[in-house]
Symmetry: C2
Subunit: 441 residues, 2 copies
């Protein structure tokens, strides 16, 4: 018999079908037992005899033949897409027997400490509540691509292996590359700028690798990063507008396509007004000082408590869960960041904050090759080694800018997860690459 997906059983009442999937739960009621069988389309209740299920346990892969029946009105489950039907099992075949699970996977929540959640990642990812996180990630990434394709952006593939740790910073992984050393890209920044010279508007979804020497709830050594860059901007405001357009587009699709997931995480997408408010860093610091008395007005950046406070302000005063902070000081931004001529010492750059923390970063870049070289050199960056990057600016580059954000962080913030590791399928950090590195010693 041909396999039927469990969701399609809704249309097969009184018909005989065969479904195949994983046993999610088994509930025994004496002579009768219920199985929840899960396949890629959803989950279905199967009614069996106690005898039929006696050898069955969670995560067993089975095929069940039987007749689809309507549930009695009192037993309809309105929260389940297949909640009006059930399958009366006639024949159950065990396709792949699972070993006994190390913990209960049958509850609505998977109540495990993070290390256990990750030690058993090959299993825990199967829990419905866990896998939902990665359906949201899928939508975020796909919506990012779609938003920019609609604006004439070309998708390109940025390399992971790079010849020099050009952007500076010690947090770069070194590779043994035949007889040489090479490095892993911390961002596709230089390459997306080169590609502006080729396609004018480009984006890339790329792995970025950072040797973060600290174990925080926000940092991964490997992330999937969403990057856009485009030329012929009239001003840096064009860049912020495009970033705003893209993030709104993403949030709309997340709301439309994953609203049951948002509900199960007891959250909703961020509240965004017609236009996301934007204020300069110094204005933000002034507001924070007035509201809290905490005087960080001379600081070059916002500390975590400042980020939370300015987000509270944005929600109270601007009815927005998101806010752009602009004009970070030159010293706090990479060498290629464009300085505001009308506000010397400060850059035409922005961070997007949401619900108390950073979501995204972007800005206008220096497109004049002479100035770019000077700024690099003043920061001790040996940009002459990045020949292809320099070529892009030597041979005609319009005013341009772009933005960047990590898919894991966005998903973490949308769902309100407490640790970014939960938003990475296979999180890597100082202490873990699938397994705990300490176990390798």
């Amino acid at each position: 018999m041909q396999r039927t997906l469990v969701l399609d059983c809704n249309d097969k009442v009184n018909e005989s079908v065969k479904i195949c999937g994983w046993v999610q739960t088994r509930r025994d009621h004496g002579k009768i037992a219920f199985l929840d069988i899960l396949d890629r389309s959803g989950v279905l209740q199967v009614v069996c005899s106690g005898e039929q299920v006696k050898d069955l346990g969670p995560q067993d892969v089975v095929c069940v033949e039987g007749k689809v029946a309507s549930r009695p009105p009192k037993l309809i489950n309105p929260n389940l897409p297949t909640g009006k039907v059930e399958l009366q099992a006639e024949k159950i075949e065990i396709v792949s027997k699972a070993e006994e699970l190390p913990f209960d996977m049958g509850g609505k929540e998977l109540d495990l400490q993070l290390p256990t959640l990750l030690d058993f990642r090959g299993l825990t990812l199967r829990h419905p509540k866990i896998k939902e996180i990665f359906k949201v990630q899928e939508v975020v990434i796909d919506a990012f691509r779609e938003s920019l394709k609609k604006k004439d952006f070309t998708e390109f593939q940025s390399p992971v292996i790079i010849p020099q740790a050009a952007e500076g910073g010690s947090e770069v992984f070194e590779i043994k590359y035949f007889e040489h050393k090479a490095y892993l890209a911390q961002s596709p920044q230089f390459y997306k700028q080169i590609m502006v010279g080729v396609f004018e508007r480009v984006f890339t979804v790329n792995k970025t690798l950072r040797a973060e020497p600290s174990v925080t709830t926000r940092h991964l050594t490997e992330a999937t990063t969403l990057d856009a860059e485009f030329g012929f901007i009239d001003s840096w405001l064009d860049v912020m507008e495009m970033a705003e357009y893209s993030i709104k587009y993403i949030l709309e699709r997340v709301e439309k396509e994953t609203s049951p997931i948002l509900t199960s995480y007891n959250t909703s997408i961020p509240k965004v007004p017609e236009t996301i408010p934007h204020i300069k860093l110094r204005e933000a610091q002034e507001i924070i000082f007035k509201r809290t008395g905490r005087d960080n007005r001379k600081e070059p950046d916002l500390e975590p408590e400042d980020e939370r406070e300015i987000c509270r302000w944005a929600l109270e005063e601007k009815e927005s869960d998101l806010i752009f902070i602009t004009h970070y000081p030159v010293s706090k931004r990479p060498f290629y960041t464009f300085e505001d001529e009308s506000d010397p010492g400060y850059t035409l750059s922005f961070d997007l904050l949401g619900r108390g923390t950073e979501w995204m970063t972007g800005g206008q870049r220096i497109n004049d090759v002479k100035l770019l070289t000077e700024k690099a050199s003043a920061r001790g960056v040996d940009i002459k080694k990045s020949e292809l990057y320099l070529q892009a600016f030597k041979y005609g580059m319009p005013p341009e800018g772009g933005f960047s954000f990590g898919s894991e962080r966005i998903v973490m913030h949308i769902l309100g997860l407490s640790n970014v590791r939960e938003a990475s399928l296979f999180p890597r950090d100082m202490e873990r690459v699938d397994i705990r590195l300490s176990s390798l010693k």
Copy 2:
């Protein structure tokens, strides 16, 4: 004045517009000169006075204001999307002046040796004939994703950093990972199999890194690979069918969306009959022996000349540019490959050959954890170290399989490029990572 894209000038005859882009070519005819200006939408002819263009050269970024005019019938260029119009320049502003180019970029072809093409990649990618290659790559990757989304596949992000060189083989890059060693993933194989346990059907577009110790026309150390894997197959034929569906879908979209590029490369998409033919490796060797007298019937694989010969046969006898070769010997396939019970010693695996060379590989995998462990151990693969992978099989895994191919190779084969490096934006090999590694010494 607001910028108009050059393609939109078609609808603006007799109107004043401002266009912005790169000077592609300049043709002087005494008092009159012509510029071809290129932006993301295309290229437009601009008519100027000799005086207006005297300081202009190729790759200069300019904005030109003027009036759009219809071309006289005799001067219409039917091969150019803007061939019926031109812009009468009134004002030309230089936005970014390019240095003198190291070679002529104005011809239809960019006639450079590969090393020069790559030494100046920041510039040469701008040549229309070169950038077209990456429009094809964009379509290939996007069509791959689209084809599988339509079949209920979930996109996931596979990691680049891995804890062990688990699949075996010496061609793996080693990273310094804090106090430990880690490695770069040669393929997402283990992870996509784990993900079958989560979403049943998955795909990933991923960087794969291989320390290829040879400099051939077919090998890169970094590639963008397209991988799919799915469970609940009835047999390995389901895997081959899905691979066939996906590759046909890709080729159809390439034909539909990039046909001017195929024309400029003097090629067309491969001829494919209703069903792509498939034969066992031993059948292929028999055919080759009969046709050429070359007796490789005892060999475990096809050598390059065999691949070409069997493709000639497929075209002559089956009217197909593509052919599946199946049943490679167990010894030539990875340990997880499923053995054909009815043909012991041979695997339920396939390669797709096209136009004389390999395009894709795939097959059914062993889903029984005991057998998988035995097979790994017999090959000297310490699979116990790949804990998450083993978990996926310990806790219930249906019959499953998948396929994989490199986007650069597919593009190379579609366009008939002679070297895979031409199909990589920033190709990496033993000798080059952007710059020639020998220059680092």
